[in-house]
Symmetry: D2
Subunit: 367 residues, 4 copies
C-alpha cells in the first residue's frame, strides 16, 4: 500500500444493497479503514428512496448511521462512476448483465454472484486461499476493446465451497495433492437470502437438497485450488492433478453458519496422521494476512480440540466470522482423514470474502 492509499479512503458502491448480502456489506464496512460507502444500488422499485425507506432491514445490529439517508440508485454504471470499487450482492438473475456493464464502464467489480465464477478469465477467489489469481486481471482487461484501465470482475466463491477449500488448501500445502473429497454440508437458512426458506419448510426439519449447490462445490473447488498459467492468462482447473469432489448439500434449522463433514484422500502414500493434519491447519497462513489486509482473520483456521466442536451457534462469530473453524480431525476408515468444518456463510462465505479480496487488490495495486 502506498502512502497515498493509506491516507485517503476509497469510495465504494454496493449493488443489491437492500438484499441480505448487501445489508451485510454495509455492516462489515461500517468503520472500515480503507473504504467508505459512497453509493447504493438496488432495483428500480427502491431507487430514489433513502436507504432506510427502501430496505427491509433484517440484521441484529442497526443500519449504519452513514447509510440511513443515502439515496438508493438504479444499478447503472453512470451512477457509480466515482466509485473506486463496486461490491455486488446482486441476485444471479440480474447480476450477469449489470456486472458486465459496470466492468466495461471501467469499474472494479467484486462480486458475490455466481454468474461469472466459471468465466475463463474471471478469478474465483477465496481470500484465504488463492489471492494470487488476481494476477489474471491485466489479461482480463486486455480482452476489452479498447483495453480497460481499471475495470474488471473478480468473484468470490459459493458460501459452502468457501468453508471447504480453506482447510483443503492448508492440507495440500503441507502434504501434497488431495485426490478425493466427500463432503456433506448442513447449511444455514441465511444462505438462501430473504425471504428465502419458508419456515414451514425448514422448521423441525432437514431439507436434503439445495438447488445447484452440489455442482458448485464440485466444480469451484478445482478452479480455486488450481493454478494460473505462467503467462498469467489462464487457470489450470487442476487438469493435471484432478481432485474429485462428491458433495451432498442439506439445509438445516440454523440461522448462520455452514457445518461441513469432510473426508479426504491423498494422492501420495502414506497419508499424514490426524495430528500432522491438525498442525498443518493450525499453522496455515495466507497472503491476505502477510499483506496486512485489515479484514483478514488473525488465525485463518482455528482448530478445536474439544470433541464436539466446531458448532455454528458457538463458533460462527469468532474473529467476526472471517476465519474458518475445524475440529474432529481423525482417521477415516474409508478414505484417509475426516474432519468437521464450520464457516460463517454471511461473513467469510459472502460479504467478508469480497471485502478482503478488495483489500488485497488494493494492497497489491490492482485497484
Amino acid at each position: 500500500m502506498t502512502a497515498s492509499a493509506s491516507s485517503r479512503k476509497l469510495k465504494v458502491g454496493i449493488l443489491g444493497a437492500t438484499g441480505t448480502v448487501g445489508q451485510n456489506f454495509l455492516l462489515k464496512l461500517e468503520s472500515h479503514p480503507y473504504f467508505v460507502v459512497h453509493a447504493l444500488g438496488a432495483s428500480s422499485r427502491s431507487a430514489g428512496q433513502p436507504y432506510i425507506k427502501a430496505v427491509r432491514w433484517k440484521q441484529a445490529y442497526p443500519i449504519p448511521e452513514s447509510a440511513r439517508q443515502l439515496i438508493v440508485q438504479e444499478c447503472k454504471a453512470v451512477q457509480f462512476k466515482d466509485c473506486d470499487i463496486v461490491f455486488s450482492g446482486l441476485d444471479h438473475d440480474v447480476a450477469g448483465e449489470i456486472e458486465q456493464e459496470f466492468s466495461e464502464a471501467d469499474l472494479a467489480v467484486f462480486s458475490n454472484a455466481k454468474n461469472y465464477r466459471r468465466a475463463a478469465l474471471v478469478p474465483l477467489i477465496v481470500p484465504l486461499v488463492n489471492t494470487h489469481h488476481l494476477d489474471i486481471v491485466p489479461h482480463q482487461r486486455a480482452q476489452h476493446e479498447p483495453p480497460l484501465k481499471k475495470g474488471f470482475i473478480v468473484t468470490n466463491a459459493n458460501c459452502s465451497t468457501t468453508g471447504l477449500v480453506v482447510p483443503l488448501k492448508a492440507i495440500e500445502d503441507a502434504f501434497g495433492p488431495i485426490d478425493r473429497v466427500i463432503v456433506n454440508t448442513m447449511q444455514a437458512i441465511s444462505g438462501a437470502g430473504y425471504p428465502g426458506v419458508p419456515s414451514l419448510d425448514i422448521f423441525d426439519n432437514v431439507v436434503p437438497f439445495i438447488s445447484g449447490e452440489e455442482e458448485k462445490i464440485e466444480w469451484e473447488t478445482s478452479k480455486i485450488l488450481g493454478g494460473i498459467s505462467s503467462d498469467l492468462t489462464s487457470f489450470d482447473l487442476r487438469q493435471n492433478q484432478p481432485i474429485r469432489v462428491s458433495a451432498t448439500c442439506c439445509r438445516v434449522p440454523v440461522l448462520d453458519g455452514h457445518t461441513e463433514s469432510v473426508s479426504i484422500s491423498f494422492a501420495k502414500r502414506p497419508p499424514p496422521t490426524p495430528e500432522q493434519v491438525e498442525e498443518a491447519l493450525r499453522s496455515y497462513t495466507c497472503e491476505a494476512q502477510s499483506l496486512g489486509a485489515p479484514s483478514a482473520p488473525k488465525a485463518v483456521i482455528h482448530v478445536h480440540e474439544e470433541p464436539d466442536r466446531p458448532q455454528p451457534r458457538l463458533d460462527r462469530y469468532f474473529q467476526d466470522g472471517a476465519g474458518v473453524n475445524v475440529g474432529r480431525v481423525r482417521d477415516c476408515p474409508v478414505l484417509d482423514i475426516k474432519f468437521i468444518v464450520l464457516s460463517n456463510n454471511v461473513a467469510i462465505g459472502a460479504a467478508t470474502s469480497s471485502i478482503i479480496n478488495a483489500e488485497v487488490a488494493m494492497l497489491k495495486g490492482v485497484v
Copy 2:
C-alpha cells in the same frame, strides 16, 4: 403361528416403562393384535405407584387407558414371571444386570439397550433385515446351566444403524457385496431420551458429535449384514467380505427422524446404475412381511422421486414410522452410488424394532 397363538394374547412386560422408549412401547402396543401389556418396570423410585403418577409423559398422544393405573414394579424377574415377552427400554447403565437376570429367569427379553449387542451369541436384529439371526436362540439357551427353556436376549440395533442397514441390505441382495460406506447422520434430539439434549446446546445449532454413536454404526453394520454359521452357533461379522464403514454423527434441531447421507461402493465392477439401485430398493421385501408380522410396514423402503425428499418432518410418520425412506439415489463421483435415508428413530429405530422382532419370534415359534 399356531391356532392357539392367534386366539389368545401374549402377556408382555415393559422395562424402563417411564422413559422415552418405554412410553413409545406403550403407544405402539396400545391396540396390538397379539400382545397385551401386563407389567411395567421402572426404578425403585417409581415402583409402587400407578403409572400415571410415576411417569412424566412427553408424547403427543395420551397415555393408553389400560396403562394409566397399572402399578409400576421394580425390575425384578419375579415380578414379570407371567410375561411371555419382556421389552426392555432400560438405560444402558442398568440394562446389563437386569436383562441378564431376566433371561436367566427364563424370560424372553427383546432389548433396545446397547449392552448385549456385541455379545457373541446374542442376535442383533433389525427386523426389516436379519430376522434369520433368531436361529441362534437355541444355542444361546443351551449355554445356560441348566439350559433355558424360554429365556433369551435379543437386541435391536442403534437407531442410526437401523436406518442405514435397511437400504444396504436391499442393495446387497440385488448387486452383491458393498465394501465401503461413508455415512453422515443428522440425528433428531429424541434419540437422546429425556431430559437428553439441553435446549441451549441444540437450539440454532448443529452438534457434530454423539458419544459412541459412530463406533456403533461402524461395528453393528457388520454383525447385522453378516451371516450365521451353518450350525447356527456363531455370527460371521463379515470377516470374509469386510464392509468398511466411516460414520460421522451429528445432532440437529429436529424432533424425530434421523436423516443420513450415504455413499457406497461395490466389490464387483461395474457397479449398478442409480436406476437399478432405486428398483432394488423399491422391490425389497423381508421375512417380517412374508410371515405377516402385524407391525411390519407394507413397503419396507419408500423411494422418493422428488428431488428434495425424504425430509424428517414430512416423511417420518409414513407407515407409522415402521418403514424407511430413501431418496436422491445418484452417482457418487468418489465412491459408486450415494443417497439419502430417513428413518423414524423412535419407531423403527427403537420400540417398533423390538416389537416386530417379537412378532417374528412368535410367528416362528421362538417365543
Copy 3:
C-alpha cells in the same frame, strides 16, 4: 338426518384445494362417514392437472389415494354443480367473488375465508359454540332474487378467535355475561399458510404483530357469542351485553397450535372461583355433540390439572385437534379469572370447523 342421508354420501367440493387449508380438508375428509370428495378447485394455473401434479403437498401424512388423480378444476360454480356441499379454503383476495358466485348458483358454501364473516346475514359459526346461528340461513336465501333453494354462505371464525370463544361460551353458560377479556396469543406459523412466514423472520424469534388479527378477535367474539333475533333475521352482536376484548397477537416458532393467555371479568359480582370455572369448562357440551356430528370431539374442553399445560406440542393432536385445551385456571389479580387456552389452528381452527358446521347443517336439514 333422514334414512336416505345416512345411506348415501354427500358429494363435496373443495375450493383452494392446493393450499394449506385445502390440504387439511382432504386429510380430514379422507374416510368421512357422510362426505365424499367429488371436486377440487384451484387457480387457473393448476386447473386441468391431476391433483398430485398441481399441489405442493406439505403435510406429514400422504395425499389421500382417492384425491391423487382427481383433475383440479377452475373455481367456477358450473364445475361444482353436482356438489351438495362446497368447502372453501380460498385466500381472501379471491374468496369474495367466488363464494358469492357459488352461493348464487345455489351451492351450499362453508367458508374458512374472512370475507363474509361480518356480513349481516352470514352466520359466523364456531361449531362448538353457536351452531344455532344456522337458523338465519332461510332468511339469507330469501334475500336472493329469486330466493335460493339450497345455496348459502356459512363462515367459520378466525383460528385465534375460535380457541378463545369456546371457553368463554362455556363460562358464560354457567356464570352469565363476561364483560371484559384481555387475550394474548402465541400463534403457530402454520396459521399463515404456505409459503407464509419466512424462516428468517420467525426463527429464534417472536413477532409481536399479525396484520388484522387483533381486530378479528375483538370483533368476531361479539358476533359468535351474541344471539340471533327471535324472528331469525339478524344477529345482536352483543349490543345489550357488550363484551370488550383487548387482543395482542404474536407469532412464535411453533408449527401447529395456538396458545392464548386469557384474563376475564364478569358482569355479576361476586365472580366464580377458579374451581367453579374449571367445573363449568369440563362439563360443557354443545349441539354438535348432541346431534352426533361425527367430527365433533368427545370432550369439547379438556381441562388440564398439571401446572404447565396445555402445551402445543403435547396437546394439539388430542381428539384429532377437534377439541380445545384449557389449563392454569386461577384468580387474576386485575380482572377476575385467568387461564391458558390451546387450540389446533389447522383442525378446529380451520378445516375441522367447516366440516363440523357442515355435519350439523346436514343433521339439522339445512343442507
Copy 4:
C-alpha cells in the same frame, strides 16, 4: 468518582463463575474501565482448577484471555478478601448462605440471585429505575454487630421484572401512578440457565408456566417502583399507591430476549394518549446515565415505530443489551394503554444490571 477511583481499577470477584450468569459477567467485564476480574468462585468440584478446565463455556464469544488460567476458588470470603466488589451469579440453593457470609466479612456483594430480594433492608435495584434505593445501604450495614464498614448486599431483579419496570417507571414519572398491570411474558430459554430447559420440552412448543416467575413479577414490581422512607431505613412497597400486577409467564423457543405484552391503567383520569406515552418513554433518562456509569445505555428505552417490533432476534443486542425496547404503544380496549417490551435477559436482565448497579455504587461513593 474521585480522581483516585478513576485512576485505579477495582478488583472484582465473581461467584458462580462457571454458570451461565457467571460466564456473562466475564464477557461484560472483559475490558471494563473500572473493574478488573480478580477472583472466580464456584463449587468445590471446580475449585483448584484453571477456569478454562472448570467451565463448560457456552457463549458465542470466547473466554476472555485474562480469565482462562485464573484458578477457581471455593466460595469462601477469605479467598475474596482483596476484592472491592463481589458479583454473585450463584444458584439460589447456595446463594443465601454464601452471600451472607461474604457481606458479613465486609465484602460488597451485588447479587443476581433471588434469595435476598425480599429482605427488608436489601435494595432490589433495576439500574435504569431505582438506584436511589442504594441509600439504604448505611442502615443495612448498621444492623450488623459490629457495624459493617464496607460490606452489604444489593440485589438486582428477576429478568422478566426488569424488562417490565423500566417502561412503567418512565410512564409513572410522566403521568402519575399506574394502578393495574396485566403482563404476559414470552421468555427465552437462556433465562433458565444451563442445562436448563430440555430441548424436548421447548422445541416446537410453548410452556405456559415458569415456576415462581409470576409471583416474582407481581411482588418485585412494588418494591422497585416504591419509595424509600425519608430516614432511609425502609422501603414503602407502594402501600399507599398499590399497583396490582397480574402476570402470566411462558417459555418460548427463543435463545435470548424476553418479550412481554403489557396492558396498564392509570390512577388518574383521563389517561394519556399512546403518543404521549411514546414521548415519555423516549425521553426517559435515569441516574446511571447522569452519573456517567460506563455500562449504562445511551437510550434507556428505544421506542420502535415499525408495527412489528420489537423482536428478540433483531433487537436484543442493541446497545449491547443494556437498554429496553418498547413498541406497539396503543390504546387498550379494557385497561388504558398497551404495548410490547423486549429486554435482553442475559444483559440488562442479569449481569449488566449487577454491573451498572456496582458502577453507580462506586460513582456515589457507596463502594
